[in-house]
Symmetry: none
């Protein structure tokens, strides 16, 4: 798996529920993000990362670790590479730019942006070889006023003002999703099962259908014929048929026009 580098790292500050941490790992990997940092996770941590000879955390009981990995749904590599820190300044020391996510107004003087406007800036910083971290606060309270002082900028996810509190993994997903959009890989065109029909093929179908309708006496009011024909053609144009489908629809017209009689005479 070749992931695009560089990327921002996701920093969970004092996360509480391991289910949320696992779901964060899954959401990150969905968006191609793999760098996770944890600041003082409530239930400790099961894995001593290679970068941390003396991991600054309590061991996580096995029964809790099981719930952690179950919630990650296969994004284990994000969890195994995660780094754990005892406090926020330590977790941020080697990074250059810090964004804090918050739903609350911290009455502070700091630039606010949305994920959509912030992520292109994050991408630009990364291209300039800066290391970027994005902070997410604990589930119940979010980041404190003091946590916010460690950030250069704040990001607010636009939500329903009457019900604004996002789940932790949902908030991470929105940021990751917007970051993934900055990768600027236009969606790959999907291979079609068959090629689009040419207009000539479509006109052939028009003519066949209209001929059969004339034969069947469909156009009972001659002055309405042009309007009806136009409407039928518009609908078929909108359908954007493939060449295979044009053949199928020819078959449909033939089958309906000839009815069961023709079939009966066949063996």
């Amino acid at each position: 798996m070749a992931l695009p580098a560089p990327q921002p790292c996701i920093i969970l500050v004092r996360p509480q529920l391991v289910e949320n941490i696992g779901a964060v790992a899954r959401a990150m990997l969905n968006c191609g993000l793999t760098e996770l940092r944890l600041v003082a996770p409530r239930d400790g941590w099961p894995i001593a990362s290679a970068a941390q000879a003396a991991p600054p955390h309590a061991p996580m009981p096995d029964c809790i670790a099981e719930r952690l990995f179950a919630a990650a749904s296969g994004a284990d590599m994000v969890l195994r590479q995660a780094q754990v820190f005892p406090d926020l300044p330590t977790a941020l020391a080697d990074l250059h730019f810090i964004y804090a996510t918050s739903a609350r107004d911290h009455a502070m003087v700091k630039p606010w942006s949305t994920p959509r406007t912030a992520m292109p800036m994050v991408q630009q910083r990364l291209q300039q070889a800066a290391r970027v971290g994005i902070l997410f606060g604990p589930e119940r309270t979010g980041l404190t006023h003091e946590d916010m002082t460690y950030a250069n900028e704040a990001i607010c996810i636009p939500t329903n003002p009457a019900f604004s509190s996002l789940n932790l993994a949902q908030a991470v997903l929105v940021l990751g999703y917007e970051w993934h959009h900055t990768l600027d890989a236009p969606p790959k065109p999907r291979a079609l099962p068959s090629r689009p029909c040419t207009q000539g093929e479509l006109h052939g179908l028009f003519n066949r259908l209209e001929h059969e309708l004339d034969t069947a006496g469909f156009f009972t009011t001659p002055e309405l014929r042009p309007t009806l024909v136009r409407n039928l053609r518009h609908a078929l144009q909108r359908a954007q048929l493939t060449d295979q489908e044009v053949r199928t629809w020819h078959g449909v017209v033939t089958a309906l026009a000839e009815g069961p009689k023709r079939r009966k005479v066949q063996p």
Copy 2:
């Protein structure tokens, strides 16, 4: 709480885990969405909504309902207003436009878009007084090939190709988030010459056409019938017919099926 109306409805097809349904309700309300429909939820449903005097579902055991509401984190109103349906066609009958979310390539000919490009179109449809539904498949398998035939368009959420499977509530959140973004600048509606057909009207056309094709002996190879029927339905979904056009196409099928014989006996 004054929510902007109208809005798309979120349709969970055969959802399995109540934790996910609860998380969907929370994610919806975060984005200001409140219209939830459930098609054959695995564990039944606890609430008989006012709109459904005889709810078509098994009762959900209390111990499971507790997990459902816990996962919703206060978005109870979305759950209490949810409507439950026994199958997909019934759930869609009164809607006009259906979008299906899928990570898989269904090898079908149907327009594909991303949430970012699709949601402004959804908003435009809503401004034209159309009712829009967005389908989400079961957790393990996603939507089936047959489910996809009930949609006009498909939406693919751009994710890491090496780890693309989003949690159900995460997928709903991305769509809701993009929809919420369209609230900032709703595109100007353009008046339509006639209203879009409902899915129920379209299903009626499907049934009529397929019945006549059966009568006419169109499906000479029985094992190919499902594929052919799917292709015909996909083409008609793409055409996004109006109610007037559905009536016209009924007339087309009737005229072709009955042929000139019937007309000849008329004076």
